[in-house]
Symmetry: none
Subunit: 192 residues, 4 copies
DNA sequence: AATGAATGAGTGTTCATTCAT
DNA sequence: TATGAATGAACACTCATTCAT
């Protein structure tokens, strides 16, 4: 792995284990097994590390969403929703501590316009998948569904495989409700 | 206002405007219009400020939830859900930047057992309101609904009054879906 | 006990238990059960506390030495030496931690001329007791004997009654040697 | 000289001239002509500086004592005592202000077990030199003689060469007395 | 490229002292 | 007289960044 990536992975590891609080360039360099000088040859500043990590995370999410939505283009809304939820949860469940720190870092950081654009692009991709099925305000819906998924995933602690599939089911219920899709698996056991 | 509260409000203000990144004791003292020595007469450390802010935020949320749930005790699940959602959103919409920083700070901080307990208590209060209406796993449901609400509120940017009521409606849809309550106001205009 | 003395005893206690390192006016006031304001009504500064403690310690030593030397005025050198040693050791063995801190504090402090004079007076008192018995350079001898006694007492750790009398005997041997008094209780069992 | 030693010498200089009272890391760095950051690259804390100075002082004393005692192994007790006294005084007369501060610092500091051991080793070395000549309780004797020497040296103010040799002679008298060696140079001119 | 010693502005915290009540 | 809240200079220590090798 090239130095660039070694450093970036070191940064990710520190964020994951120590959070933003323990994130400093010396720690990152040490973790990456690289000198502090080398770190600065690839990244002009501490912030640049965060920006790059955010950029990658966003790009990966866009790809996942794009994938799901092109694969399911022809399907009905429920199937599309299922796919997006699955992709979204897969995303947030992978290195959740890292994700959390990056999410928080975004709020303070000055990401470049290019990285800002990625955020909008996620929304656009999801909105495009929802729009053809009569969802009103598809951009708002996209943002809401992403937020809802991220919120639930983030609050659900450390995961096993079974946990993830249960989480998925719960998120699906909320998403169906949001989108007005009637659910065949209601949570409350209502007498009919 | 007593010095204790002045300092705490200074801390809240800094978190709100500068985030955890700009949160340092000198800045807090300056913002509060108080000397650094005075700050340390009331708070033994920088962390203690965060802990107290978190404690207050949690206590306030518990009260709101408790209020809503006792006021609506006799009502049906939908009405209770509406009340909880309204209270939850009211909570997250108030000083959202502050809330975000505190949420993140929690992950690194060593809150005392007393403050930890508050987190569980929120879940318990909500779960108690849901349980009598046939909601399975009421604690998980409580956690999920809180997370979903917080996630959506957090992602919805700065708010006007109208925005809040729209947000509330969108959250309600997701919550109804999660709880298996059929919605009379579907988002998608589906032909029936 | 008057406030003045209460504070002073608080200061002594802190020095004894925490050393100069932990000696601060707030700690002293707390230990004395007095407000910091009251402390400053009796002592103009932190240093003033130390100076007064030193003054008292010196005065007490002078008195002990004076006592011994007037009581033994008519005796021979050995008896006088015994008395001075006994008094000196009694002095250093009482609150030795306190004594150690005060001794060190002296080196940095600007004691007033009056307190400086006390130091010389101790030497003078002892020298006066030694001079009539043919001791050369009685002032140097006085200083040496005091230093030797203090050194040995200080290095001999925490004391029981038996320890003190053993210490006394050992110091006496050194003092006899210094003064050229032949010892009837030699340490080494030399075959002659 | 490497930075490590430069800093250490700066620390020694400050202790010597300002005492523990004026001993702060910024002053040390300034004195050493080094940035505060550099100081902390070599010493993890202010205390570490003191510990290292103490360690070095003790090691040097052990060496001196070891030297003297191996050189004089075959000699009689008086010659050995002379050697140890000379070495001891040479030690305490060199930078006495520094020595005084380090001695006091010891009482508050948490020296590591390794550095604690050095203190015992000094006693052991001296005791080993004394034991073969019929000195009872050689460890106590070693401690006493060290204390007596240090006490007298410390109280004897600033030194010229002549002063040192006079001091040596006076200490020797006390030591002879302590060890039960008859002195050929008595201080008191007793008629025989 | 890579290194890592060096820098120093910045931050958390302490504590002697003051002064209004 | 007594109180103790308030002050802020001073100090311990960190960490982003540079630069000579």
């Amino acid at each position: 792995m090239a130095t660039f990536d070694v450093v970036l992975e070191g940064a990710a590891h520190i964020l994951e284990t120590k959070g933003l609080h323990g994130f400093n360039t010396n720690a990152v360099a040490r973790q990456a097994g690289v000198s502090i000088g080398s770190l600065y040859q690839y990244f002009p500043s501490k912030e640049a590390l965060l920006v790059e990590l955010i950029r990658r995370k966003r790009t990966a999410l866009i790809e996942k969403m794009q994938d799901a939505s092109s694969r399911l283009e022809a399907s009905d809304l429920r199937t599309i929703a299922d796919g997006l939820v699955r992709a979204g949860i897969a995303h947030w469940v992978e290195r959740p501590e890292l994700a959390r720190s990056l999410e928080y870092a975004e709020t303070t950081l000055d990401l470049g316009p290019e990285t800002e654009a990625l955020k909008r692009q996620i929304v656009v991709v999801v909105a495009k998948a929802l729009a053809p099925h009569g969802v009103e305000n598809p951009e708002t819906a996209a943002r809401d569904l992403a937020a809802l998924t991220r919120g639930m995933a983030d609050s659900s602690g450390p995961f096993g495989k079974a946990d993830v599939s249960q989480l998925e089911q719960r998120v699906r219920r909320a998403v169906y409700g949001y989108l007005g899709i009637s659910d065949s698996n209601p949570l409350t056991s209502v007498r009919r």
